[in-house]
Amino acid sequence: MDSQETIYRLCPNCQNNIPEQNNFCSICGHAQNHEEVKFHGKKRQNLNQVALFFAIEIIICISAGLISEHTILIALFFDLIMALTAILFFAYSWQENKFLLKWPNFSIKKVSALIALTLIASFGVQFLVGHLNQLVFNKDYTFYYTYAFHDYGNYIMIISVALFPALFEELAYRGFLMQRLLNIVDEKEAIYITSILFFFIHFSMISFFWMLPFGLVLAYVRIKTNTLWYGIVMHFFFNLCACLIEIYNYGSF
């Protein structure tokens, strides 16, 4: 009766016409979700890559935390190692990841709107964090003095605190990690996991109230726009704002 409304498709195994809603071909018995099953079979490999990546990230971050000395050279050294890790993992599956480096549908309006929102959020967060640090630790925490004693300290600070993390954290988390996770779980869970791991790697429990939402927004923008660049721009301006406030508070250009 309703056979006119049934949509047919070709069975990929025996090329016979079968109704779309059938799970198996009634002529050769071929599973119609064969591709999906194959996709699920590759999950373990992807999971192992994610585990290796995150283990390396933890080791780097913990070794950075172990060194109590704060000098420009050490800061730049760890920036360089993070950058190399990000590039290596990203390039390992280059064919799958390279589309993320394109910037389709570039819109100056969107970029300016995102930058404006980021700056407002960053100001708010810096203000709150400043007060929270005084409240909880009874002291100001600043990374400014690491860079203060160099002639070009301000510029090195902007490169090391704003530019490098923006580029390479995005490349690593929203680039490599996100792409791997999309092969394991659905989009929503990939957004959650990347932002939670992104938050963990900063080793700052108190900052969960802004680091997690920030990670979620970056991951969401990356999924919606299919490019890393909006995230990189937002991340850069967020950190730049923090740098400029430090310079304003403790030093001068």
């Binding site: 799970n23 198996f24 429990m205």
Partner: protein, 174 residues
């Protein structure tokens, strides 16, 4: 219409047409030999049993998260009695409340989003243990068997989540 009710698949009890060679819902070989049909049913049963086992593994992983929560909560309360004059009580409390809250949240969350919750829980647990070891290397060996067991259960849980998805796809069930 009358004889439609007779043609029900022996494996999944869905209706089939008499010209069908395989059941289009479960892939059962309707016109195969007795041996093929038995093998099909056996194979499917094995997968269904696997599914039950894997769900138990996810359950154990969730319980590990609850155990971590309970252990952290108790040791946090216990630690309050040993806090020294110079220590920052406020900071101590905030750290423990956030950590206990996080593990509890992951444990509850693992009911709806097991992959995210278990991966996050495992990562946090490993990071906390590593930071503990760095702060005080002696903690490496205290309760090492329990720590290894908890990590093993969490890893098995994560792998089980992926396997469950895979088997469900193979069996074509939601």
């Amino acid at each position: 219409m009358e004889n439609q009710n007779i043609n029900l698949c022996a494996c999944c009890a869905h209706h089939y047409e008499s010209i069908d060679i395989f059941c289009n819902t479960c892939g059962y070989p309707l016109q195969g030999t007795k041996q093929q049909q038995d093998a099909f049913i056996a194979n499917r049963t094995v997968k269904e049993i696997d599914l039950v086992d894997l769900k138990k593994k996810i359950e154990s992983a969730r319980n590990s998260l609850y155990i971590i929560t309970a252990f952290l909560g108790i040791s946090g309360l216990f630690g309050l009695f040993f806090i020294k004059e110079g220590d920052d009580l406020f900071y101590y409390l905030i750290s423990y409340v956030i950590l206990v809250g996080a593990f509890l949240a992951f444990a509850v969350w693992s009911k709806t989003k097991p992959a995210s919750a278990l991966i996050s829980g495992l990562s946090l647990y490993v990071i906390v243990q590593l930071l503990n070891i760095i702060a005080d290397p002696a903690t490496l060996f205290s309760g090492i068997i329990i720590k290894v067991l908890i990590i093993a259960y969490l890893i098995k849980g994560i792998i089980a989540v992926l396997e469950v998805d895979k088997i469900k796809k193979e069996l074509n069930i939601k």
